[in-house]
C-alpha cells in the first residue's frame, strides 16, 4: 500500500486535518513523483516535465485539471504556453494519465476551518499542512475553484523549465552558448536559423533538465492577462467537439441501466421478457440494484430499459421526515462553532428571528453520465469525463480485483459537471457490465431519467437566524445551519472515514469577513440519509442565501442602507472594494423599490451583486444584474466574465424553480420538465467587473454563485415587501 493510500485511508476533515502534514513529515513531501509521461514513452519522444510532451509531430501540453466547461484546458494551456513560447492553438492538448504527480495542492484546505482572508501564522501553517496532505494523498482532482491558484506557478514553472532545457539542447547541438538563443512559436531561434522543438528530441538526451528557472514578469506576458481564444471554441461552435457519448470503439456495445430509485433498496423481482425480445437487444444483465440493457444502439437500449418491469425493495426517505430531521438537528448538538464572538444571547437591541431553507438539487449537467469500459482479466480501460481519475481507477480496481496498475483511465472532456463528475457510480456500473462481456467495450449512457433520479444531490439545508439592531445599526448576528455532511457522504462512498467537524455545512457563513461585537455561526450535522455531493460552490450555495437574507432583514429592521451598513461591517479591504465597485456600477442609491444587494466570500473570492427587478402583472421580471469580484489577478477577462455571470445565473435559476423532492419512492423529478432550469427569456442584462488588484490569485468557477440568490430575494423584498426565505422562490412568488 502506497503512502498516498495510507494517507487517504485516514482522510481527515476539519481541524483534524491540520495535523496530517506534520504527521507524514517533510521528507516524503519533498520527493518528486516519477514523471508519469515516461511510462511507455516512444523512443523518439521526450517528456520534459510531467506537463510537456515532445514527439516528432510536435508539442503536446498536458492539462491535468478536467475541463468541465469552466475553461480549465484553456487556462492551463496558456499558463504553459506563456513560458514555453508556443501558440496554444498550434499544439496538441491532453489531460494526461491519472497520476499522483498531478495532485491538487489547494483543494484539501477547503475542508479546513481556515478563512481564506486570514494571513495569520496559524492559517498559513494550516494551509501549508494541507498542501502536504494533498500531495501525500496524490489527490489528482479538479474542484473547489482551485485550478488557477494551484496551477498558476506550477505550470509556468514547467513551461519555463522545458523552454530552458530545449535551449540547452539546442546550444549543445549548435555549439553556441545558450544565452545567444531565444524561443518563439515553438522554435529555438539562433543567429542563422530556427529549430522546431521537435527536432531537438535527440539532443535532449544529452542535457540535464534545467530547474528553478525564474518566471517572466507579468508585464512581459503575451497570453495571460488578456482575452484568450478558448482552445475548444471553434469545435464547440461548429459541432465537431466530441464528448463521452460520441465515442465509438470497434465492437462496442451500447448499454443503459435501470436501478432502484431508492439507492441500495435492491431488486425484489424483475421481468425482462418484453425487453429481451425487442429489436437490437443483445442481453439484459443484472447489476447492483437493478439491471443493464445491452443493445446495438443507444435508443434501442433506452427503449428496452423502459420495458423492464421491476418490483423494487427498500423504502426511501420522504421530505416531511427529512425536514423534521433538519429541525431536530438545529435543536441538537453542534457540529461546529468556528465563529463565536461576544455573546449573541445577551446582545442588546431589538431582536428579530427568521427561518430559511433550501431543497436538494441535482447538478444535472446537460450531457448525461456516460462511461465506456473494456475489461479483460489482464487490463481494464476506462473512457470517462471525470474530475477525479484516480478515484475512478481505484474504484474500478476494487470491483475487478485488479491492481491499480492494470486499470487505465482516459479522461474525456465533459458536457458540464457542476460537481457531478466527482462521482463515478456509472463507471462502476459500466464495469459491472463489462466484466460480464470480457473484451468488448461497453459504452454506458444513462437516460436523463436515470441520471436525474440517481444524483448525488446538493444537500437540503435549514437555518435559523437571529440578530439584534440598535441605533440604526446591526449589532449581533447568530446563524445556525443544519445539513447533511457532504464530506461524510463523499468520503464514505470512497471507503474513507471523515473525521472532525464539516466545514462545508457553514462555509460562506462562518468565514464571511463581517465584524460585529456579537456573532456566532454554528453547524449542525443531519444524519446521513440521502447521498449528497459537492454542488457548484458547495456549502456557500446555501449559506450565501441564509447569511445575506438574514443580514438584509437586520439592516432593514435597523433602517440602514443595505450597501452602507455592509460596508460598515466589512473589515476586509478586498471585500469592501467589490461592494463599492458594484455600487458604483449600478449607481446605487438605495433599494428604490426594485434593487437588492448581496455579498459573499467563497473560495477566497469576495463577490458583490446588485439585482434589479420589476413586478409586472405576469410576475417578477429580472432586468439588470451587476457583479463585482476580486480575483487577485485576472488571467482571461473573457472567461472570468463568463464564469461569474454563468455562476450567478446558475444560482438564480435554481433558486427560482429547481428542487429535488422525495416522496418515499425516490426522487420525484425525472427530467427537465419538472426539474426546471433558467431559460433565456428570464435572463437579465448582466454587467461584470472582475478585479485583479493583487494578492493571492483565485479561481472563478464557483464564487459567482453564492450572492446571486440573496441579491434576487432582497430585490424582490424591495419591490414587493415579500421576504422569500425558502427555495424554490416560485413556491411563493410568481415569476414572469
Amino acid at each position: 500500500m502506497g503512502l498516498g493510500k495510507i494517507a487517504r485511508r485516514s482522510f481527515l476533515i476539519g481541524t483534524a486535518a491540520l495535523g496530517a502534514g506534520v504527521a507524514f513529515g517533510v521528507y516524503s513531501y519533498r520527493r518528486e513523483g516519477e514523471n508519469p509521461l515516461r511510462a511507455g514513452l516512444a523512443p523518439d519522444a521526450a517528456a520534459l516535465t510531467p506537463y510537456v510532451l515532445l514527439d516528432p509531430e510536435g508539442v503536446t501540453l498536458i492539462t491535468p485539471r478536467a475541463d468541465v466547461g469552466q475553461g480549465a484546458a484553456s487556462v492551463q494551456a496558456h499558463l504553459l504556453a506563456e513560458e514555453l513560447d508556443v501558440d496554444p492553438a498550434e499544439v496538441r492538448l491532453s489531460p494526461g494519465p491519472a497520476s499522483p504527480v498531478y495532485h491538487n495542492g489547494k483543494v484539501a484546505a477547503e475542508g479546513m476551518p481556515l478563512a481564506a482572508w486570514d494571513d495569520g501564522f496559524a492559517a498559513r501553517t494550516g494551509r501549508a499542512a494541507s498542501e502536504v496532505a494533498g500531495k501525500l494523498m496524490g489527490l489528482h482532482l479538479t474542484g473547489g475553484s482551485t485550478t488557477v491558484p494551484d496551477m498558476y506557478d506550477r505550470l509556468r514553472a514547467a513551461g519555463a523549465s522545458a523552454r530552458e532545457t530545449l535551449k540547452a539542447a539546442a546550444a549543445a547541438r549548435l555549439g553556441v552558448p545558450a544565452e545567444t538563443l531565444r524561443t518563439e512559436g515553438g522554435r529555438v531561434i539562433w543567429a542563422e536559423g530556427a529549430l522546431p522543438y521537435a527536432e531537438l528530441i535527440p539532443a535532449l538526451a544529452e542535457v540535464e533538465v534545467v530547474q528553478d528557472v525564474p518566471l517572466r514578469d507579468p508585464s512581459d506576458w503575451r497570453h495571460l492577462g488578456r482575452p484568450h481564444r478558448r482552445v475548444d471554441i471553434v469545435a464547440k461552435s461548429v459541432g465537431t467537439f466530441r464528448y463521452g457519448g460520441d465515442l465509438v470503439l470497434e465492437d462496442m456495445v451500447h448499454a443503459t441501466v435501470v436501478t432502484n430509485p431508492t439507492r441500495g433498496g435492491g431488486v425484489v423481482s424483475m421481468d425482462a421478457s418484453e425487453a429481451e425480445a425487442m429489436r437490437g437487444v443483445e442481453a439484459v444483465l443484472p447489476i447492483t440494484d437493478g439491471a443493464a440493457v445491452l443493445a446495438d444502439n443507444d435508443w434501442r437500449a433506452f427503449k428496452a430499459a423502459r420495458a423492464l418491469r421491476f418490483e423494487w425493495g427498500g423504502a426511501g426517505p420522504r421530505d416531511d421526515s427529512l425536514l423534521e430531521m433538519h429541525a431536530a438537528a438545529l435543536d441538537g448538538d453542534r457540529d461546529s462553532a468556528f465563529t463565536d464572538e461576544g455573546d449573541v444571547d445577551a446582545a442588546p437591541g431589538k431582536r428579530i428571528e427568521a427561518e430559511y431553507r433550501v431543497p436538494f438539487l441535482h447538478h444535472a449537467p446537460l450531457e448525461p453520465a456516460t462511461a465506456t469500459v473494456r475489461y479483460t482479466p489482464e487490463a481494464t480501460e476506462i473512457w470517462v469525463a471525470t474530475q477525479a481519475p484516480i478515484f475512478v481507477a481505484e474504484a474500478v480496481a476494487r470491483l475487478t480485483g485488479q491492481d491499480r496498475e492494470q486499470v487505465t483511465v482516459h479522461v474525456l472532456p465533459a458536457g458540464g459537471s457542476f460537481g457531478h463528475r466527482l462521482e463515478h457510480e456509472w463507471v462502476e456500473q459500466a464495469t459491472e457490465i463489462a466484466r460480464q462481456v470480457p473484451g468488448r467495450p461497453i459504452r454506458l449512457m444513462l437516460s436523463r431519467e436515470q441520471d436525474m433520479t440517481h444524483g448525488f444531490y446538493r444537500p437540503m439545508a435549514m437555518a435559523r437566524g437571529r440578530g439584534t439592531v440598535e441605533t440604526g445599526q446591526v449589532r449581533s448576528l447568530d446563524l445556525a445551519v443544519a445539513a447533511q455532511s457532504v464530506a461524510e457522504s463523499q468520503l464514505g462512498r470512497l471507503g474513507y472515514p471523515a473525521l472532525g467537524p464539516d466545514v462545508a455545512i457553514v462555509a460562506g457563513a462562518w468565514d464571511a469577513p463581517y465584524t460585529l461585537p456579537d456573532r456566532r455561526i454554528t453547524g449542525h450535522r443531519v444524519p446521513a440519509t440521502v447521498p449528497v455531493s459537492s454542488w457548484r460552490s458547495v456549502g456557500a450555495s446555501h449559506n450565501g442565501f441564509f447569511l445575506e437574507s438574514l443580514m438584509d432583514e437586520l439592516i432593514h429592521e435597523a433602517g440602514a442602507d443595505p450597501v452602507e451598513e455592509r460596508l460598515r461591517l466589512l473589515s476586509h479591504a478586498p471585500s469592501r472594494r467589490v461592494l463599492e465597485t458594484v455600487a458604483e456600477m449600478a449607481s446605487w442609491n438605495g433599494p428604490e423599490g426594485k434593487r437588492g444587494v448581496a455579498f459573499a466570500f467563497s473560495f477566497g473570492v469576495p463577490v458583490a451583486q446588485i439585482m434589479e427587478v420589476r413586478e409586472t402583472s405576469q410576475g417578477i421580471v429580472m432586468d439588470r444584474l451587476w457583479i463585482a469580484a476580486e480575483l487577485g489577478r485576472v488571467l482571461d477577462p473573457v472567461n472570468a466574465e463568463a464564469q461569474l455571470s454563468g455562476g450567478a445565473l446558475f444560482g438564480i435559476g435554481h433558486a427560482i424553480a429547481a428542487e429535488i423532492t422525495f416522496g418515499g419512492a425516490g426522487p420525484e423529478q425525472q427530467n427537465f420538465d419538472t426539474y426546471e432550469s433558467l431559460r433565456l427569456w428570464q435572463v437579465p442584462q448582466v454587467e461584470v467587473r472582475a478585479l485583479g488588484s493583487g494578492g493571492s490569485i483565485r479561481g472563478v468557477g464557483e464564487p459567482g454563485l453564492p450572492p446571486a440568490a440573496p441579491a434576487l430575494a432582497n430585490a424582490i423584498f424591495a419591490a414587493t415587501g415579500t421576504r422569500l426565505r425558502r427555495m424554490p422562490f416560485s413556491a411563493e412568488m410568481r415569476f414572469a
Binding site: 464547440k236 450531457e367 459537471s417
Partner: protein
C-alpha cells in the same frame, strides 16, 4: 427507406418510431445533435427540416419523408463556419458546449425566418434551448451579432 442529411442520401433500415436524433447519431454516425432529455425540453438535439428548427428527439425518422435534414455538421465547417457559428466563435459563447449545436441550429433557423429579430423575438425563439452553464448573455449577443446588429 431513404433519408437526405446534409446533402447526402442514405439508405437506412429502422423502426418507424425511432426518433430522428437516434437515426442520425447511432445509424449515420452524425454526432453533432446531442441527447439531453429525450422529451423536447432541452433543445440539444435541434436540427433543421427544410431549414426550420425541430427537436430531433421528437420527430419520428419515418415522418421525415423527402424533407432535407440539416445538422450542425451541414451548416458550416471549421474552415468555413456559418455566420451564426462565426458569431459564436467571435463572442466565445460556449462553456461546456454540449447545448451549443442545438443553440446554433435554433439561432440559424430564427435568422432564416427573421433576419433582423427584436430582443423579444430572440428570447422567444431561443428559450426552448437550455444552457445549464447559463451562457445566455453571450447567446443573446451572438444572435444579434449574426444578425448584423451593431453594438452586439
Amino acid at each position: 427507406m431513404r433519408i437526405r442529411v446534409n446533402g447526402t442520401d442514405h439508405e437506412v433500415d429502422f423502426e418507424e418510431d425511432m426518433p430522428l436524433l437516434w437515426l442520425l447519431r447511432d445509424e449515420l454516425g452524425i454526432h453533432g445533435p446531442k441527447y439531453g432529455c429525450g422529451i423536447g425540453q432541452c433543445g440539444a438535439c435541434t436540427v433543421h427540416l427544410d431549414g426550420v428548427a425541430v427537436r430531433a428527439c421528437q420527430v419520428w425518422a419515418a415522418d421525415v419523408g423527402a424533407a432535407e435534414v440539416t445538422t450542425i455538421e451541414g451548416l458550416g465547417t471549421e474552415d468555413a463556419p456559418h455566420p451564426v457559428q462565426q458569431a459564436w466563435i467571435d463572442l466565445q459563447v460556449a462553456q461546456c458546449g454540449y447545448c451549443q449545436p442545438g443553440q446554433v441550429m435554433q439561432a440559424a433557423s430564427l435568422l432564416n425566418e427573421t433576419p433582423n429579430p427584436t430582443d423579444a423575438e430572440i428570447d422567444d425563439a431561443m428559450s426552448g434551448n437550455l444552457c445549464r452553464c447559463a451562457s445566455y448573455p453571450r447567446i443573446r449577443a451572438a444572435v444579434r451579432r449574426a444578425a448584423g446588429q451593431e453594438g452586439a
